[in-house]
Structures are given as structure tokens and as C-alpha cells.
């Protein structure tokens, strides 16, 4: 059933992407309206789906990797819609952001929807905060990587001295660079706090009564720490003048790839992990 619903809004976003890509061949205002309309329609369907999930489980739909990916895609879609409406019609924002809206849905479709972290008691609150911080960090990284792609495309055009194609304008290098810098600066503390809360939650797990504490060698933990390290390096390079421009943009894409892997790679590759399954917290006596 979940996959069928995913197909509803995922398919709508895919159609929006096709319509957006048609800008290379079709010169019509109707194409822009079709792209924005389809994205908006997909977003509405996805909103209803997520609201229903929250109603059924009485929790924010971020308690499984599946749900958090769908939530992530929902936020991406909202940002994509905002950017597409805000930018001038010839600016090809959708070409860069719609694939990033679709990607989490595709990953979500590969994951089991039912495996749910059974947070209870004190962990319920902190588990939700952990999820929200990571989600917002991922959203910020999404903005950074979209800006990175746009920078690289614009830079490539300018280096090859090509005029901008009609209907396929790109933001200026300065604008993409600024958005990328701000998004990275916001993403890093969000991811750091999210991970920190996750570590503390894991340390608070009582190892008895069927609970599964997370090991430091758990693939999920390892990939997450590698991801954090890459983001820390990215933040460092971000402020080194010598690395401004292409290097930082490429590193942003690498960091985002690590983030995607840490988020869904373990599940997609079916590596053994205790993350996201039933855990109980040691009660203070």
C-alpha cells in the first residue's frame, strides 16, 4: 500500500521533472505552469499521506528511515516549489531540485516501511528531536548541494564561453556560492546536534529485556561518523579562500552523498544494524 501511495506522488514529481526537462525543447509558458502545477499536486498528495501517517501512529512521521525519507522529500518539494515560483521563469531551478525531491522517494521505496523505532518514555521526546535535527540538517544539505550543482553548471558555461540558452538561465556564481555557504553553515550544527542526541540516546539504552543497544562498530554509526567528518572538513574548506568555488562545490556533493549513504545506504545494502529497532531506556531510579 505504501509503495502504491509513493507511486502517486513520486510519479507526479517525475512528471513534473519531465515537464521541467522539456524546457530544452519546448518554449511555452504552459510548460512552466505544468511543472509547477504537477509539483504542487504531488506535494499536496504527499502532505495528506504524511498527515495520515502522523494520525495513525500519533507521532511525527520520522520514526523510520522510510518515513524520514518521505518527510525529507516533502520538505525538499516545498523548497523546490518555493524556488521555482520565486525564480524568473527562464531560470532552470527545477532541473536541479526535482531530481533531489525524487531521490529520497526512490530510496524510501527500497526500504521496509514497517520497521519502526519504538521510542517510549523519555526517549520519545529526544528521539523526535534527534530525528528533527537530522532532517533539518539534511534539508539544509539539500539546498547546499542544489546550489553546488547550479554553481558548477554556470561555471562550466562561463569557462567554455557559451551564451546562456534561451529558457535555461542559471543563477549567478555569486548567488549559488552564497546559498551554498549559508546552507552548509546551517547544516553542520544541525547534523552535529542531531548526532549528539542520537549518541546520548544510545548510551541511555538499557541492555536487558530484549533491548538492542547500538554498538560503535554498527555500520550505521560508522557511516554517520564518516559523514560528520566529511561535513566538518567541508565547513573547514568553506572558509579557506584557496578552496572557494569548484572545490567546495564538489566537496558539498561528496558530503551529501555520504549523508545519503548514512541515511539509507545501510538499509538499502541490508547491512546488519540495530539502529531504528525497538530499544528501551534505562529508567532513573
Amino acid at each position: 500500500m505504501e509503495r502504491l501511495t509513493l507511486l502517486c506522488f513520486g510519479g507526479t514529481y517525475a512528471l513534473a521533472l519531465v515537464s521541467e526537462l522539456a524546457r530544452f525543447a519546448v518554449r511555452s509558458a504552459a510548460r512552466w505552469y505544468a511543472t509547477v502545477g504537477l509539483t504542487a499536486l504531488g506535494w499536496i498528495v504527499q502532505t495528506v499521506y504524511l498527515a495520515n501517517l502522523a494520525r495513525v501512529h500519533h507521532k511525527l512521521p520520522i520514526t523510520t528511515a522510510f518515513e524520514s525519507l518521505v518527510m525529507l522529500s516533502w520538505i525538499f518539494a516545498a523548497i523546490a516549489l518555493y524556488l521555482m515560483v520565486r525564480a524568473a521563469k527562464p531560470v532552470a531551478v527545477g532541473v536541479f531540485v526535482l531530481p533531489l525531491v525524487l531521490a529520497p522517494i526512490v530510496f524510501a521505496a527500497l526500504l521496509p516501511a514497517s520497521r519502526r523505532a519504538e521510542w517510549g518514555g523519555e526517549t520519545a521526546f529526544w528521539g523526535t528531536v534527534h530525528g528533527i535535527f537530522l532532517l533539518l540538517g539534511a534539508v539544509s544539505s539539500f539546498v547546499a548541494v542544489a546550489a553546488g550543482f547550479m554553481y558548477l553548471a554556470q561555471s562550466n558555461r562561463l569557462k567554455h564561453k557559451r551564451p546562456s540558452r534561451f529558457g535555461v538561465a542559471l543563477p549567478s556564481l555569486e548567488q549559488s556560492e552564497r546559498v551554498n555557504r549559508e546552507a552548509i553553515t546551517i547544516a553542520f550544527p544541525l547534523l552535529t546536534f542531531g548526532l549528539l542526541i542520537g549518541v546520548l540516546l544510545s548510551l541511555a539504552v538499557h541492555p536487558g529485556a530484549g533491548a538492542v543497544p547500538l554498538s560503535w562498530s554498527d555500520p550505521k554509526i560508522l557511516s554517520t561518523f564518516v559523514m560528520w567528518g566529511v561535513f566538518a572538513a567541508l565547513l573547514h574548506f568553506r572558509y579557506r579562500p584557496a578552496y572557494r568555488g569548484r572545490s567546495v562545490m564538489v566537496l558539498t556533493i561528496v558530503a551529501f552523498t555520504f549523508l545519503v549513504f548514512a541515511w539509507v545506504g545501510v538499509e538499502v545494502l541490508r547491512l546488519p544494524t540495530a539502529h531504528g529497532v525497538s530499544r528501551t531506556v534505562r529508567r532513573a531510579s
Binding site: R27, S28, A29, Q154, S155, R157, L158, K159, K161, R162, P163, S164, R165, F166, G167, L170, P171, S172, L173, E174, Q175, E177, R178, P241, A242, R244, G245, R246
Partner: protein, 428 residues
């Protein structure tokens, strides 16, 4: 209905003829008034730009002016012998006149394909005619459509995209790199016509500061005064390069004045901020290797700018065929609409006249048979009879008006024929 466009343009006549036939702001209203008094009941719009002088006329009456009439008018108005310019005149009739105006508005007839000024000039010409009340229903429809078609062609073909001169392409390049210019510094090295032209375009971006340096301090001062900038001694070139975000270099030096190593140091001092170097000097002032220094440095020479302008020109040229297709469709639709409107107007008039006549005839017969009716009773009976007729004709009239007003009406002619048959009206 007759439509005529007569005039000269940059293809048909040399500048001296166009100048002689031009209507300036003072002459245009005067000419429109003269045309209306010479050909009452007709409509006129005069389009006069540096590249064309055209008179558009439309009318339904028998005294619609012909090309010869308009030629005589131009000769008389400008006090020129017709033989002097007659051979340069070009005329378009009916649907051809509509199509010509659409091509003009879409800039297909302009000297520079895709230029935007002509659309405003067509709008001004129409506005001037409206003010003199010389544009009626027909030219109103044609000019309103021309303005719409002009915009549509630009939007759908991108014909107005990309600049065509080397100097103005620099602005497009700068916009691709920088978001805002009010915090940017432009540095001009050297002096020359090309540098002046480029700076003229860049100045439209309103940079925060313009620095000008030259081996001759006096020339730097002169240029700084001219452009509202600040002169910088040539010895401080490298400091100025550190401050500058956009550099326009146009010296007559025979060797590069900035080497790769030198600019690498400059860029380090600039903390690798984005920079645009427009090296429009020949031979080049900046070592071409500087382009490979960093993604943050974009180096354009005059050939790069020229090539980009050429590609823009080709891009605009690609839009010509789709534009002509749009214009063909729009011309046919507009002309069809004008015809439908004319037929509908005539039919509505016929319908009213016929039923007014019938009502009058029947009322006369009734009043003749009943001489005892008082004037008040006669007035009341006549009023009721006319109201009944008006109510009966309300729906056919509304349907006809809507068919005439709606350009995309599916079957205007079927409707007109049906009304004609039903009410026994004559062909228009």
C-alpha cells in the same frame, strides 16, 4: 473592409528619404488630422521611427484612400515631389497589411532582429492615433493584436534574448557571475573606444565604484571625470586589481601587462573572490593562462565576447521560422475576426432596421384602423410593440455579439448563416 499599409523602411529606402518622410511628435498629430479631414470615415495610424515611416489606414466606406491617395498626401504634407520617394514606397493590402504590422511588432522587419524598441514605438503610434481619435474599431483590433503578437513571439522564440554587440555581451557575462553590483568595483585599464563602450554598458549595472588607470595620468583623470569614477596612478595597478571585481582592460601595450604569476598573487590577496576580467585589448593585456587559475576568475577576451555575440545572433535567427509560423496563424485569426466583426455589425444593423420597419408598418396600419386611439394610447402601444421585438431579438443579438467578440469562436460563419436564413437577411 479595406486595410492598407504604405511606407518606407530601412530596406526599401535610404536614410535621406526616411528622414524626409518622417513624422516627428509635432508633425504626427497634424498629419493624422489632415488625413481624417481628407478621408472622413476612415481610420489612420502613423508609425514613424528612424528605420521606418508607415501609414496604416482602414475603412469600410467607398472613399477609403488608395496607395496613390496616400502617396499624394505624403508628397503634399512634406512638400516633396512624389517622384522623389514614390519608387521607395512599399504597400501591403488587407490581410497582408495585418501580417506586415505583426512582423514589424515582432521585430522581424527591424534592422536588429529581436530588438525591443519597436514594440514601444508601435504602442506609441497607436496611442497617438487614439488621442487624435483617428484609430477606430478596425485599427484598434489590429494594433492591440500586433502588440500581443509582438510579446508572444519574443516569449516563445527567445528572439530578444542575448545581446548582440561585443560591449553589451559583457553585461550578460557579468550577470552570470555576480548577483548584485552595488557592492562591486569596476577597474578600467587604459583608454579606448571599446573600453568606453564597455564601461557605458557596465555603468548601467550601477557598480559601487569605478576606478580608472592609465599610463597617462591626465587621460585617467579625464576618463574618471567623464564616468564619475576615481583615477588611480598606473603604479598602483596591482592594488587596484585587488580591489576590483570587474576589470576592463584596453591598453595599447604590445606585451601582456599582467602575467599569470602576478595575477595569482592578486587573486590570493583578494582571498579568491569572484573576478571578471574583460581583456578587450589587442594584443591581450592579461596572460590567457589566467583563465585556468581558478573557477573564481573568469577571463574573457574580445574574441570570446565577439563569438558570444555571434552565437546570440544565430540563436535569434533560429527563432525566425517559429516566429513566422506564429505570425501566420495570428494574422489569419485576426483578419478572420475583423471580417466576422464587420459581418456581425452589418447583420445587427439589418436586423434592427428590418424589425423597426415591420413594427412601424404594423403600427401605422393599426393606428389607421383605429383613429379613436389617443396619442398616449398610441405611444403606449408602440412602446409595447418595440419592447416585444427587442425581447425576441435579445438572444440572437447576444449570440452574434459574442461570436464577433470571441476570436476563438468555433463556428462564427455557421452562426451568421443560420441567423441570416432564420431572419431572411441579405448577404453582407
Amino acid at each position: 473592409m479595406k486595410l492598407l499599409a504604405l511606407g518606407v523602411d530601412h530596406r526599401s529606402a535610404p536614410a535621406v528619404i526616411r528622414e524626409a518622410l518622417a513624422f516627428d511628435e509635432r508633425k504626427c498629430p497634424e498629419a493624422l488630422d489632415s488625413l481624417m479631414s481628407a478621408f472622413p470615415g476612415n481610420e489612420f495610424v502613423i508609425l514613424s521611427t528612424c528605420n521606418r515611416v508607415e501609414v496604416y489606414t482602414a475603412g469600410t466606406s467607398e472613399n477609403s484612400p488608395t496607395a496613390e491617395h496616400l502617396t499624394d498626401f505624403l508628397a503634399e504634407f512634406h512638400s516633396l515631389p512624389a517622384a522623389q520617394f514614390g519608387g521607395h514606397l512599399v504597400s501591403y493590402h488587407d490581410e497582408g497589411a495585418v501580417g506586415h504590422l505583426f512582423r514589424v511588432a515582432a521585430s522581424l522587419e527591424s534592422l536588429v532582429l529581436g530588438e525591443g524598441q519597436i514594440l514601444g514605438q508601435v504602442r506609441d503610434a497607436y496611442q497617438a492615433a487614439r488621442e487624435r481619435k483617428s484609430a477606430g474599431k478596425i485599427l484598434h483590433e489590429v494594433f492591440q493584436n500586433a502588440l500581443r503578437v509582438g510579446k508572444r513571439v519574443r516569449a516563445e522564440t527567445g528572439m530578444d534574448q542575448g545581446r548582440l554587440s561585443v560591449a553589451s555581451v559583457a553585461v550578460d557575462v557579468a550577470r552570470g557571475i555576480f548577483d548584485t553590483f552595488t557592492d562591486k568595483t569596476v577597474l578600467v585599464i587604459g583608454a579606448g573606444k571599446m573600453g568606453d563602450l564597455t564601461l557605458q554598458h557596465l555603468k548601467s549595472l550601477r557598480p559601487r565604484q569605478i576606478l580608472i588607470t592609465n599610463r597617462s595620468p591626465q587621460r585617467a583623470e579625464e576618463a574618471a571625470t567623464k564616468w564619475g569614477g576615481q583615477a588611480v596612478p598606473f603604479e598602483r595597478l596591482f592594488q587596484a586589481l585587488i580591489d576590483a571585481d570587474i576589470v576592463v582592460s584596453t591598453t595599447a601595450a604590445t606585451e601582456p601587462i599582467v602575467t599569470y604569476e602576478q595575477y595569482a598573487r592578486v587573486q590570493r590577496a583578494r582571498r579568491n573572490r569572484l573576478a571578471l576580467i574583460l581583456d578587450i585589448a589587442i594584443p591581450r593585456d592579461f596572460d590567457p593562462k589566467i583563465a585556468t587559475l581558478s573557477d573564481q576568475v573568469q577571463l574573457y577576451n574580445v574574441d570570446d565576447l565577439r563569438q558570444q555575440a555571434e552565437e546570440n545572433r544565430k540563436q535569434r535567427q533560429k527563432g525566425v521560422d517559429p516566429a513566422l509560423l506564429i505570425i501566420e496563424q495570428e494574422t489569419a485569426a485576426c483578419y478572420q475576426l475583423l471580417h466576422t466583426q464587420r459581418e456581425t455589425g452589418a447583420m445587427l444593423r439589418q436586423l434592427s432596421e428590418r424589425y423597426d420597419l415591420t413594427v412601424s408598418r404594423e403600427l401605422d396600419a393599426l393606428f389607421a384602423a383605429h383613429p379613436e386611439f389617443t396619442p398616449e394610447q398610441r405611444e403606449a402601444i408602440a412602446h409595447v410593440a418595440r419592447r416585444i421585438v427587442n425581447q425576441m431579438l435579445h438572444h440572437p443579438r447576444t449570440a452574434l455579439k459574442s461570436a464577433a467578440a470571441e476570436p476563438a469562436h468555433e463556428h462564427p460563419h455557421s452562426l451568421l448563416n443560420a441567423v441570416r436564413h432564420l431572419f431572411g437577411l441579405a448577404d453582407v
